[in-house]
């Protein structure tokens, strides 16, 4: 009995509300229709109609907001709340067939209502389309609870992504595409790098899954395709960040490309960052898209400065596919930046050769790690320190020559980081005593003062008015 009542309550909107909505017209719309009919009968001309409408204040013909409307809104809210409570209290008594039919009718009703609103008010449909986007996962959850479905935890979300793909494809709205891309990214990482699901690419018991790799590639291609449909939004370039994160996850997780030893991550970071930077040049991405690869290269160089502290034999064990991928990325980036015309890297004729050298050096250093012994690693650490300091000084010089405050500040920050790090490395033991702490504090203060003065001088030189 309760099921019949609930079914009737859910179906009742479809029994006449669309006809009622079609018959309802605002007074302004009725007046416009009357004017149009008058034109057809030759009573007035089109110009007269337009002048009348211009003259009239439309506010006078707008339906005033009455207390009755407010009561009606509350009445509707009470009905919806009551219906929800009725369903919640009697949920266990509602049979599976009723749940299925109710959901199907609700879904269809939502879709039709959205299409109706789109025809009347195209600029007000986004919230409805977002609800439409989320409806399939509500249905999947309802079916899972009703029919006690379980098993692969990723399948419900994969199904949702597949069902909502046509909606996203037809609508071409940026917000819906964004939501779908977020869902695909969640599937890519949560499915690919966790075990016991259809998308998992983790090696299990020394066996490598093959079909999940195909799913991963398809997901990635779909994400890239949808991202580039977000034109002209600049966020579409974040797909490069995503691919870099995915490749790094391949190295970190227990996959076919896994790197078993920590030393390989130094090399991987430099290889991936330089390859990523290369792609930003090839695809002519905006300058801000190079920030992350530059940061990656900087931190890989910074990490190399700590190789000085390695005092034991390095284990270079790694998976063959992982090693080959790293070498391929490094080789491609190295060849690209060496063969590239320096003028295409930077327009400044003095700077472009230096830039080329600064980009190529981390790649070469990281490759040198692969065949270095302990002494070799110390040499690499020393070179990395020198290059970072040189790079910082060059950035400050370039900034002062071209009035770029950012370059000056960046150079100063890098210099400060290297100085503090090396100070702690070399004088770390001394800092434990009282005198050591005082000396360290005075030294750091003088360094900070010196840097600050140098920075101000350079900023003043580049832009006297700013100071």
């Amino acid at each position: 009995m309760i099921e019949l009542l609930i079914l009737i309550l859910i179906l009742s909107p479809f029994l006449g509300v669309s006809a009622w909505l079609k018959s309802k017209k605002s007074p302004l719309r009725r007046f416009e229709d009357a004017l149009q009919a008058s034109i057809a009968e030759g009573i007035i001309t089109l110009e007269q109609k337009n002048r009348i409408l211009e003259k009239l204040s439309t506010r006078a013909l707008r339906v005033p907001f009455r207390a009755v409307s407010l009561i009606l809104i509350f009445a509707a809210l009470f009905v919806v709340a009551g219906l929800s409570l009725l369903i919640a209290h009697n949920w266990d008594h509602i049979g599976p067939a009723t749940r299925v039919m109710a959901f199907v009718f609700l879904f269809y009703g939502l879709g039709e209502f959205t299409l109706w609103v789109q025809a009347k008010h195209p600029d007000k449909t986004l919230p409805l389309f977002i609800v439409w986007f989320f409806f399939p996962i509500l249905g999947i959850g309802l079916y899972a609870q009703t029919f006690q479905l379980s098993g692969d935890f990723i399948l419900p979300y994969l199904t949702w992504a597949a069902i909502s793909l046509p909606l996203v494809g037809v609508l071409k709205k940026a917000s819906l595409t964004y939501l779908h891309v977020l869902l695909l990214i969640a599937l890519l990482f949560c499915g690919g790098f966790y075990k016991n699901n259809i998308l998992s690419i983790l090696n299990d018991h020394d066996t490598t899954p093959t079909l999940p790799w195909l799913y991963q590639i398809l997901l990635l291609l779909l994400i890239i395709f949808e991202c580039f449909r977000l034109k002209p939004l600049p966020q579409r370039f974040q797909v490069f960040t995503l691919v870099a994160a995915w490749i790094f996850s391949l190295f970190s997780a227990r996959t076919y490309f896994s790197l078993h030893e920590p030393i390989w991550f130094f090399i991987a970071a430099a290889a991936l960052s330089s390859f990523w930077l290369m792609m930003t040049f090839i695809f002519k991405l905006p300058l801000r898209e190079r920030t992350l690869p530059y940061l990656g290269m900087f931190f890989s160089m910074y990490a190399m400065t700590f190789l000085w502290d390695v005092n034991s034999k390095i284990n270079f064990t790694s998976s063959l596919p992982g090693t080959l991928l790293i070498l391929a990325m490094s080789g491609a980036a190295l060849a690209y930046f060496l063969l590239k015309n320096p003028h295409e890297l930077s327009h400044d004729p003095t700077w472009n050769r230096l830039f080329q050298a600064l980009v190529v050096t981390p790649i070469l250093l990281s490759l040198c790690i692969t065949f270095s012994n302990e002494f070799g690693l110390k040499v690499i650490a020393l070179i990395a320190n020198i290059l970072l300091v040189l790079g910082a000084l060059l950035a400050m010089w370039h900034g002062s020559m071209h009035a770029e405050e950012l370059s000056i500040n960046l150079g100063a920050a890098i210099l400060l980081l290297i100085l503090i790090t090396r100070f702690v490395d070399i004088m770390g033991d001394m800092v434990q005593s009282g005198l050591g702490l005082i000396v360290s504090g005075l030294f750091l203060s003088s360094v900070a003062y010196g840097l600050s003065q140098a920075r101000k001088h350079l900023l003043k030189k580049s832009n006297p008015e700013a100071l």
Binding site: P96, V100, G141, A144, L167, L171
Partner: protein, 174 residues
Amino acid sequence: MKKHLRIVLILQVAYFLVWGIWLLTSHLYGQDVWLETSPVDPRDLISGHYVRLDYPIARVPNKTCDLKNYTLDQAIYVELEKSPLAKKTSMGQVNLWTAKRCQLEPPKTMASQAWVKGQIKSVGDQHVSITYGIEKYFIPENSTLRTAQSGQVVAKARIGRNLTLRVLELTLIF
């Protein structure tokens, strides 16, 4: 675009309708089996409250299985048999079912036999671990079943048309 959107809507609704009808009818008629369980209590993101269930039939001895050229996640068929061990529940005396043997080939089902389909998760030295898609059961928040201890709960499951299991209800053992 309206025409295309309507086609999308019809396809989506049709998918849920067909899937719903299949779920309603797939386990309408089938053999019921009682299975011993071990519950744990997590929360599912999209389906409300559920308990995780583990079954003794999820670990079948290797010596009773024909596992020639198996691969992980491959379908496997397990024959269940009613054990003489009876348990007293709120639904009366019930006999629990245990795993008798397993094989990779689909069985030529005979009326007196109860075969169920699962998936190979791992193969150890002694046992093969199998999942049946019944490792979660959705129950209301205030249900006493959520606090039940291992061995105190049995599951009534039905074997569907495609030899898959579906849990119909959980009940406490007295």
